[in-house]
Amino acid sequence: MPHAARITQTDAPPTYEDRIRERLERDDVKGARRILAEALQEGSTELGLAHWAEVLAPAKILGFRPADGTDIRDDIRWFDEHGRDYRGQWVAVLRGALLAHADSYEALRARLDEIAPTEYPLVHHVK
């Protein structure tokens, strides 16, 4: 009895997703976007294209809010001068001064919730 011919996976044409990933791995973002546009124009129903359409799209401006930021240099200077004393700790610094520290991010977050600072501290895990 003759065996049915087997079609190997390599005979299948690459999917749009395969082609997009191949372009991305070459840092060819324009090429990936071009293939996505081609797929959408041809009405492809290939699974996964919606995800690529989302992540390959330009960023969208969501809004604006009044500035309340602080000087990043003050906070990083604190880590330069005191960071070594807090190795392994999660640390929150605000306006160049220590606000809170803890062994875990969850513990630090709980401490910050207690303190309820009116500004957003710089958070960093000291190595």
Binding site: R21, V55, A59, R65
Partner: protein, 142 residues
């Protein structure tokens, strides 16, 4: 200045971070993510194809990602991961913050707890400028 509306926000930048010691100065800015009530340091990297999210932020933001991964070559090695879309705020000291969304590469084996702000899907959609003598980072919608 060519006009008052070239950008809407200004903040100081720093030339190094607490996370990564590098031989040359870089540009580090303050950013916030989604609804986290914290500020983080991120490196502005116009030479990077994609932004990369700090390893700890993936967990804090509760990101789940599916689909097929791809390999991204970075100066910290080749890493397999996914692209995700998340809200990010460029934090201003003067003017206004810029809330936008951006595409970030996330990888389980990313070795740094540091975020990089890359070109595609983020910096290519905003207007920004640097004044290195004053350490000013200007930004706004394009």
């Amino acid at each position: 200045m060519l006009g008052d509306h070239f950008v809407q926000g200004r903040a100081k930048f720093n030339d190094h971070s607490p996370e990564l010691i590098e031989p040359t100065a870089k540009v580090y800015v303050n950013v916030r993510f989604a609804d986290l009530r914290e500020t983080y340091v991120a490196q502005l990297d116009t030479g990077a194809a994609w932004s990369v999210l700090a390893s700890s932020l993936v967990k804090k933001l509760g990101l789940s990602y599916g689909g097929r991964s791809f390999k991204l070559s970075t100066r910290f090695g080749v890493h397999s991961g996914h692209l995700v879309r998340i809200p990010i705020t460029f934090v201003a000291q003067e003017g206004i913050h810029l809330d936008t969304d951006g595409t970030f590469f996330v990888s389980n084996d990313w070795p740094l707890d540091l975020t990089f702000l890359g070109y595609s899907g983020l910096l290519d959609s905003i207007r920004f400028a640097l004044d290195p003598q004053a350490n000013h980072f200007y930004f706004g919608s394009s």
